[in-house]
Amino acid sequence: MNRNNFLIFLAAAMFGFTGVAAAQTFTPPGDGKKLFDGLCQDCHGANGVGDEAPALNHTLAADDAALRKIIRDGIPERGMPRVRRMTEPEVEVLAAYVRSLGAGRNVTVAGNADKGHALYQRFDCASCHVVDGAGGTFGPDLSKVGQRRSPAWLRQAVTDPGKLGTKGMQGILQNGFTEYLPVSVVEKNGSEVRGFRVNEDSFTIQLRDAQGKLYSFRKADVTNIDKQAGRSLMPSYKDRLSAGDTDDLVAWLYSLGRAK
């Protein structure tokens, strides 16, 4: 009798269940994948190749106990929620599946990171982004972006940034709000302010414009607030980069914050 069946047997023995609790037994690895597809892949990508959240092809947890703790409790301070409460057998099969993803399946990146770095400089990406402390602060800090995002996600960030609807970089708005959301505010005198949303509550909204100027509005004092979901203040570089250039830039971004 394996541990899972033993626990169910125990519950059945204690409460006289006759096949009621045993209706669902969880055995690795197939059920681990079922759990993963339901609970994890929205953020970590199909088969854990990474998406908005990191790829799971390398071990972020120090050991099995640490991995189970992450699955059980999430990492709230880094934006990973506990998706739902799980029984220990569920944690076990899910951990086993996540471990199977890490078994030597490295995400390969086609491009040349050094060439990508040169492109980053040529397109003056540093006017808006910081890497290792240097650069503009209008956009997100990219110093460790390779740890947090997958190559596929980074590719989309370069070619179609509006589709990302990014959550969890800034940590100010929290609770699932889109970060760097473009917002247009029309004041009562007719003038328009465009910027990204820094913060918001039910009565006020704070924006920063492309010049870095901060605006704070009381909602009752403006004519219109247009939250532009699906758009980004970052231009798309789709038509300015060749396919090879894009690979190179993604390779460089993916290298940031990762062991060389």
Partner: protein, 532 residues
Amino acid sequence: MSRRIFAAAAALLTFATCAAVAQVPYNRIVQAGNTPQDWLTYSGNYNSERYSPLTQINRNNVSQLRPAWMYQLKKPGVFETTPIVADGVMYITEPPSTVAALDVKTGRPLWRWTPQIPDNVIVIGSPPVNRGVAILDDTVFAGSIAGHLAALDAKSGVLRWDVAVDDNRKGYYLTLAPLALDGKVVVGVSGAEAGIRGFIAAYDAKTGKQLWRTYTIPGPGEPGRESWGKDSANIGGSSSWLTGSYDPTLNTLYWMTGNPGPDYDGDVRPGDNLYSCSVLALDPNTGKIKWHFQFTPHDVHDWDSNQIPVLFDDTINGRPRKLLAVANRNAFYYVIDRETGEFITGQPYAKQTWATALDAKGRPILKTGNEPTIDGKEVWPNLQGSANWYSPSYSPQTKLFYQFTREMSSIYYKGQAQYTTGLPYTAGGGTAVDGDNAYAAIRALDGTSGKLRWEFKLLEPGMDGVMSTAGGLVFGGTEEGNFFALDAMNGKPLWDMQLGGPIHANPMSFGVDGKQYVAIPAGWTLYVFALP
């Protein structure tokens, strides 16, 4: 005057003061409207209106409202208390289970009492919180997450008695403010996510002796037991974790019940799962169930019916009716005859995707395919519901029912149904579809018909109660930390202030020395406001 004579005189004076200090007898709670400067029950009165008859702060001057004093927690935690105020003293609870008495004029503490909480206390299903105390005569009553009920001397905080309501090792714990009736104090229990069998219990206010206990899941052979299938009832949850309401004329206690367990897997508990997700009308002398009404039969989305049942009277089709109204976590607003339990009307007050309507008896007509699955099924409302424990308000002045309404869905997952004593027994869970995909609103419903009269939109679904006042105001809070006042007639915003921390609590109001105050916890601070 010699020092000794002075001391003797002072002692006499003190003694005389002691004797003169008004206590809070039962009749004073029944007549709570006669002492609007006090706030004598969790919801302000037995009807649970959360309505203050005070008028000094009103729609003409609320724009001048400003902080009068603040009180900070000694230890961070989720601060959900509703203060009780009687005779110049405010009684609050601090998370997880500390009781404090404060001077209402200054916020200076008069005493604090903290029960013993074992390091390995079991709190499954909510944060370790407490929502407040009850007061009766000269005693304050408070539950604890250790599953105990304590009686404290109101003047000193000295412990009079302490009883274990049930065994915390099995997952029982208390978060609610008890309800004090004539000579007794009534509590319910939390723990449905740990496989408890819920109950409501009454204790002798003087001695702590249990007077009755009524299980919210029928025992073997009792009517309703068959609604659980064969073996699931004894660990079926159906907790009772929020304060009920009371009608002294009908001598009936109204108490709401929580979700059946395991929360997300209904296969192991075939049937309606009585009396989960219901309101029970109880005889307070015996605990006998007079009638019940189930809002969500066989719930699989954790839609506890632990909301505040609000009591008011109205005339319907020329006939005077005694009513009970609930804005349920399941997104429907219900009006029930509180003498008979007869369903009168019900309709959605928020987006929902699980039922086409309620039938003539108030039972939901289900849509198919909304059960949780292993890979997730999106359903409105959210796991935390369109409403939750935080309070609505009913204004006898406007006859409107005010409700902080959560507009959000969840992805519901089914998991493994495995019971082990003292461990979570939920068989799944949910993730909120939150952020810019969700919002909240204060909705004003016609109390008797449930029809929407106005709404005021808010950014984020939170856990924020409302209070209406005879000054024509509705006070409310937000997840983002705004505290605000709306015009009770039309929802127009009249005043707001950012308090710097999320509000997970209900406003209340009191008066002292001819001045009206409004109190609300936000973050780790209790804020008290008044006019200049």
